[in-house]
Symmetry: C2
Subunit: 332 residues, 2 copies
């Protein structure tokens, strides 16, 4: 492996000059020597050792991304969006899966300091904010728009999204609209959830009553979707529309509902959230609130680079979500 010194010898200059040329920092290097150096480096197939460079400059051009799980399509898309942008900017992306576990997140944060990454992109709950700050590293939070806005954060605008979905249902004649909140009842009702806020604000502004029986707290997975279908199939006065926890949940709901002879969308319109690939593959194709997954990753990536550069960034950047109307919903 040839070093800067080898290049210097071949080009018959000092290694500082080589460094000046090769780091792009060639203020005050004559065009002539510049070419001489570049040619020498090219000829001998020199590749710069970023490790040594980083040790000096204290920047690694590497970002740590901490997400719950890449094998969840949502996070995979976010990762992809981020990596695409980083790649363009000459950055590398270290991937870390936390499963939402605080201990794992702490472990990765520690690693970040040792490995000297330039910044951290993380999806986390509010309990770890202090520790994140204590790393002393630049960071950007991803997701959880409802949380504190003291820090740079990019997430999707669920408040507006849910409102959009409710408007669509309302305009199509629905008045008995059930809402599923992917959180526990306490935090949901304590005004911490954008989704619930959006729901209750909408009801209020449309002179509708908040009914406990149309409000559900469930885990955003297939199983809970199926369970809700069971529950609803037994209701005397079931809703005519439902906004699911997410697409997976909606898929489970539809499967079980159909098994119980509830027709979708004739009996109940269902709207998912996320727009995962599955959404357009099930039958009926799912109407859903599309979250800008890839964009979320890209904007988060842009933001962390801005933070690193010391630029001013938006503290709580909410990306618009989009209602995709497919086959699982209809007017009444």
């Amino acid at each position: 492996m040839s070093s800067i010194l080898d290049v210097a010898k071949v080009a018959k200059v000092s290694k500082s000059t080589v460094s000046r040329v090769l780091s792009g920092n060639n203020y005050g290097v004559s065009e002539e020597t510049k070419i001489k150096v570049e040619k020498a480096a090219e000829e001998m197939g020199y590749v710069k050792n970023y490790l040594a460079s980083s040790l000096r400059t204290n920047q690694t051009k590497t970002i740590l991304l901490i997400i719950p799980d890449v094998s969840n399509n949502f996070w995979a898309e976010v990762a992809r969006g981020a990596q695409d942008y980083f790649d363009k900017m000459g950055y590398s992306l270290i991937l870390a899966n936390s499963d939402g576990d605080n201990n794992k997140q702490l472990k990765y944060l520690k690693m970040a300091q040792r490995n000297k990454v330039d910044g951290i992109l993380i999806n986390t709950n509010d309990t770890l904010l202090d520790e994140i700050q204590n790393t002393g590293l630049p960071f950007v939070l991803i997701g959880n728009a409802n949380s504190t806005s003291r820090f740079p954060r990019v997430s999707s605008d669920s408040y507006e999204g849910i409102k959009r979905a409710l408007e669509y249902l309302y305009d199509n004649g629905h008045r008995k609209i059930a809402m599923v909140s992917p959180s526990n009842k306490d935090s949901a009702l304590s005004k911490v959830s954008n989704r619930v806020n959006s729901y209750s604000d909408f009801l209020e502004s449309h002179k509708m009553e908040f009914k406990e029986e149309y409000f559900f707290c469930c885990q955003p997975n297939l199983k809970d979707g199926e369970e809700l279908a069971v529950k609803i199939s037994k209701m005397q006065n079931p809703p005519t529309a439902i906004i699911a926890a997410n697409d997976l949940f909606a898929a489970g709901f539809i499967n079980e509902a159909v098994r119980r002879k509830i027709r979708i969308p004739e009996d109940i319109s269902v709207i998912g959230v996320d727009d995962i690939p599955l959404a357009s593959m099930i039958n009926p194709k799912l109407t859903t609130l599309e979250k800008p997954k890839h964009l979320l990753g890209k904007v988060a990536a842009e933001t962390i680079i801005s933070v690193i550069k010391g630029e001013e960034v938006i503290q709580n950047n909410k990306l618009p979500v989009n209602l995709i109307i497919r086959e699982s919903s209809k007017s009444i």
Copy 2:
């Protein structure tokens, strides 16, 4: 940021002693001083700078993973499997998406050298093998079991898997079994594809004839699956079973077949390949050959670490695939 020297001062020892203790390399350090050093480091919240360490030791404890696309569930699972293992071993995982594009792969290979990763995990076609070797870095290939076996490689055993699926269909009375190959006809028939080899070997050993009309070459996606359903719906003598290009393809096939009043599995049994989450969510639930995605990543990770250590590794490690029987297939 405190350094090893600060710790040395506090503990009143030399920095080499500190290094000896903190790098775990404490041969010939008295228990007493060891404790003294550890306490000092702990107190001042010292965190080791791996950059400096790496520059000296020439190892970064970082592996580069080059896959086509994380937002494809198959690769996401592989990435997750690898990262889980690396994490346990104290390694970091740099993620790179190539979209199968040679130029992108080359770019990442170049990066690997500069960033001094300890090794490379890559899914690639055979055209880039020389360039990969030329990096001088340890590497392990992922996937494409049918390709050259001159290098360490881990992939799933499609030959055996397809055989298993065929046996299942045969034992259940099927004699008109169609095969879809996710490659073009030339390479498929030129004995390069494990899948096709497995198919023709099976036919031969069961005294069945290879019929052109039951052999299809398609892209492994939803659209091509739908198209094949159209084609098959028009056949005079359609197959009673079909092994799809993959699960996505199978989903497309089923959707379109049902639309054309072909009953699955009553009229045609269909078997997918991959076992993506979708497989168990569509109706009917898909019988499929499950590839050991997570395991693939894990074993690849294990293997690269072995290669780095200079240990002997299996050159062409084929992981067993598993037939999951669900609802899309039945006996005749």
